[in-house]
């Protein structure tokens, strides 16, 4: 390959308050390539990209754009140099419209007046969204979109810059297969037009599907760069985690017991007539397109969303669930889809997050016993192999995968009969993913029933005993482990189209 080198980063180092997160990292992007940046949670991928785009100041190293040394002070500078970013964290402003979000910071004005040319912006918004094949009203508030739709808006926003380099930091974490396909088409088109793309993802199959080269970071160190097609999956994994990992999905060999949970005719404003069962020790996978209403069903089951009608039975007895506390008392734990907004108290420590739902068990007459609490937390940290400097570390400073382990672990204190996992491995690296799967297996072996919502079909197929497919708020089909494959799920999820 002899394409032009668009960006070169050399010997980049960066520390946050004494904590070195990047150590002499090299990275290069050429025209017409999709360059994957791979690494475990906390390896420093996002930090490297934030240095590139002027959000963070680098401590050491040099950055060249087409051979010229540059030093961006803010995102405006980098944008002017032709670099656009889709950030890992959604940067949608909920009470602004889609159009307003698209042009935030780059509003189109009437000349130099400071007055907005709204018409023009609406028209362009439609155009860019159209390129992605999504139809979203430019005047609707972005907060009313589902997470996936918001992600599409962010992608459209990056496209609208007409950049030479586009950084995509986990763009597919919130998308389902259909949108991902669209995105890949767009990426391919951009690549053909000579755009250089940095692609960050924890989904290995995507890397092999669309990337040309891959660079790997581990603990802030630059491990190496390989050309896709010249590198084996296993080699990449061991570059990534520093050891052999083996198969991703562990063997499932569980005796499924009696019916534990039975849901009858559950109906609300976003879903209708939902019926299903989960047995002891069973993993029920729940698949569906983005916005199908899977999360909403589980929220209702957990007492976090009002229902219009329907009944819930646990171990054959009717359960009255009006609030989350009722669900918890009935033995249900709920690992929510958005760990930062709904799962964790980021300002609290590992210890405090672990014991939040079951404080009563580690206290006497409402006085918390430090000893009991510490024992429980140490046990959990060990069991889940949480990488932390200690139980007093703020969870905010943990990597995504380790945060996710805590969100799951905090429910074990209530000795759940049923555990609902909503996108349990979203944004989690392969190593941690495998650990989470193993934990799921251990739990089901102890008789816990698991409901797992996932938009990653390999995960649904790899882990579920049975698969429920939701289509537009209704059950679109139910598949057994043996009969299920990607096509059948997609068929049911799209309502048989």
């Amino acid at each position: 390959m002899s394409q032009q080198t668009l960006i070169e980063m050399k010997g980049i180092s960066k520390s946050f308050v004494g904590n070195k997160v990047l150590n002499e990292v090299n990275f290069e992007i050429r025209a017409s390539e999709v360059h994957a940046l791979l690494g475990e949670n906390g390896a420093g991928k996002s930090t490297l990209m934030k240095i590139l785009t002027g959000i963070y100041e680098r401590d050491e190293g040099e950055v060249f754009v087409k051979g010229d040394p540059v030093h961006f002070q803010n995102t405006k500078d980098s944008e002017e140099a032709g670099i656009a970013v889709i950030h890992q964290e959604l940067n949608i402003i909920p009470y602004l419209t889609v159009m307003e979000n698209m042009f935030l910071g780059r509003e189109i004005k009437f000349g130099k007046t400071g007055f907005l040319n709204t018409k023009k912006m609406i028209q362009l918004t439609k155009e860019y969204l159209g390129q992605l094949g999504v139809e979203i009203d430019p005047l609707v508030n972005a907060g009313n979109l589902s997470v996936g739709q918001q992600q599409m808006v962010e992608i459209a926003k990056a496209l609208s810059v007409n950049a030479e380099v586009i950084v995509m930091d986990e763009p597919t974490a919130a998308l389902t297969d259909r949108e991902i396909e669209r995105l890949f088409e767009v990426i391919e088109r951009l690549r053909e037009q000579g755009v250089g793309i940095v692609y960050i993802s924890h989904r290995m199959e995507e890397i092999f599907k669309i990337c040309n080269r891959v660079s790997v970071l581990r603990d802030g160190e630059y491990i190496g760069t390989r050309v896709i097609g010249e590198v084996e999956y296993d080699e990449l994994i061991s570059m990534l985690v520093g050891r052999e990992l083996g198969t991703l999905f562990p063997e499932r060999d569980v005796d499924v017991g009696d019916v534990r949970l039975k849901v009858e005719g559950l109906t609300s404003d976003v879903f209708r007539n939902i019926n299903f069962e989960v047995k002891q020790g069973e993993i029920l996978g729940v698949a569906g397109l983005m916005g199908a209403g899977r999360s909403e069903i589980m929220q209702a089951l957990f007492g976090y969303r009002e229902i219009e009608s329907g009944n819930i039975f646990i171990d054959g007895k009717k359960a009255k669930i009006k609030k989350p506390i009722d669900a918890i008392k009935s033995g249900i734990g709920f690992v929510t889809e958005d760990r930062k907004e709904e799962g964790l108290v980021l300002s609290m420590s590992v210890r405090e997050n672990f014991t939040l739902p079951n404080l009563d068990d580690v206290s006497k007459q409402t006085v918390i016993s430090s000893q009991k609490e510490n024992e429980f937390v140490d046990d959990m940290v060990g069991r889940f192999n949480v990488k932390t400097s200690g139980r007093e570390q703020e969870v905010k400073s943990l990597s995504g995968g380790n945060q996710q382990k805590i969100v799951i672990g905090k429910w074990l204190g209530i000795n759940p009969k049923i555990l609902i996992l909503d996108e349990p491995t979203r944004g989690v690296d392969v190593g941690a993913k495998k650990e989470i799967y193993q934990i799921m297996n251990e739990l089901t072996a102890q008789g816990v029933s698991i409901i797992m919502i996932s938009s990653e079909l390999p995960e649904v197929l790899g882990m579920s005993d049975r698969i429920l497919v939701i289509h537009e708020g209704q059950i679109g089909g139910e598949l057994n482990r043996d009969e299920a494959d990607q096509e059948k799920i997609m068929y049911a999820a799209t309502g048989g189209e």
């Binding site: 803010n74 970013v85 950030h87 909920p94 602004l96 307003e100 910071g105 907005l116």
Partner: protein
């Protein structure tokens, strides 16, 4: 307003319905209430709080708050009066007074944006400081004896086509601010910062600059309110505007703007200010004893907000 859900529209109508309800009750209870004369009087009374509340709307939209507006009002009013008393041309004095307000606001803005101090505590401190400066400047006495400039008198007491000039100023400023919020890049950025500051920074918005601008605007408006008040009263009292910030904030919130920032509209603030003005005026017309007035005012505010919340949820 395409793309807005029914809920959102109801949310926006809430304050208007509240105002109408109060107006209807008052006009039944007091025959004078709906007279043109009384309405103009009431509008003129509202001007001061409305100007403070307009600025406060911008501040609250960015997710901030400004407790210092009452003190800014007093200091700018006193400075303007003092300048005129020392012979400076009234028009120049007014311009310098508004500028002084903008500078005080900018000071708040810099502390909040660059110093990263929580707006509540920053403006609590400057509220005390500006009040202290007013006392030092005036030596605790009302400033009077400024030239009997016709022009200056007009600001607070004049009429144009039978409408009080302060009222005209209030509406002109309202429309300008409405335009700024809806139609300009600055206005868009005000909403964006309050909606998600992090995302705004990442989108290349100069957040600090916008914030400083917003507090400066608020300071300038507070100063203008102080100048109108000085003109109306013919003197600038060092205690002017004491606790007005609370009325201004109440007006903004009654109008449906969220204290969390990012959501709201200045038309609501106008309605909110009118609710407060109508209440004060009506309770006086009805001769409600002053001790009970506070209870009624508090209860009405609470009720209005409660009803509004109920509807939106």
């Amino acid at each position: 307003m395409r793309g807005q859900s029914l809920g959102q529209i109801m949310q926006k109508l809430g304050p208007v319905i509240g105002l109408l309800a109060i107006v209807i009750v008052l006009s039944i209870m007091s025959p004078q209430f709906l007279s043109l004369d009384n309405l103009l009087t009431m509008l003129r009374q509202v001007t001061i709080i409305a100007l403070l509340a307009f600025g406060m709307t911008f501040v609250i939209l960015t997710g901030g708050i400004d407790l210092s507006v009452g003190s800014t009002l007093a200091l700018a009013g006193a400075l303007t009066a003092g300048m005129m008393a020392s012979g400076i041309d009234p028009i120049l004095a007014v311009l310098l007074g508004v500028l002084a307000g903008a500078v005080m606001g900018a000071f708040n803005g810099v502390i909040i944006a660059k110093g990263k101090v929580a707006p509540f505590i920053a403006t609590l401190a400057t509220m005390t400081i500006f009040r202290g400066l007013t006392l030092v400047y005036t030596d605790g006495r009302p400033v009077t004896g400024f030239t009997d400039s016709q022009a200056f008198d007009l600001i607070g007491r004049g009429y144009l086509f039978g409408i009080p000039i302060p009222v005209i100023m209030m509406f002109v400023i309202f429309f300008i601010l409405l335009l700024i919020l809806k139609k300009t890049v600055f206005g868009r950025h005000v909403y964006a910062i309050g909606g998600n500051e992090e995302a705004s920074i990442l989108s290349g918005i100069k957040v600090n600059r916008v914030k400083i601008g917003v507090y400066s605007l608020t300071g300038a408006l507070a100063a203008l309110a102080g100048i109108i008040l000085t003109s109306r009263l013919g003197s600038a009292s060092p205690n002017a505007g004491f606790t007005y910030e609370l009325d201004a904030i109440a007006a903004v919130v009654l109008g449906g703007t969220s204290l969390a920032g990012g959501r709201g509209w200045i038309f609501g603030t106008l309605i909110g200010a009118l609710i407060i003005g109508v209440l004060n005026n009506g309770l006086n017309l009805l001769g409600v004893s002053s001790n009970y007035q506070q209870i009624v005012k508090g209860a009405v505010i609470l009720l209005a907000v409660l009803l509004d919340r109920q509807k939106s949820s």
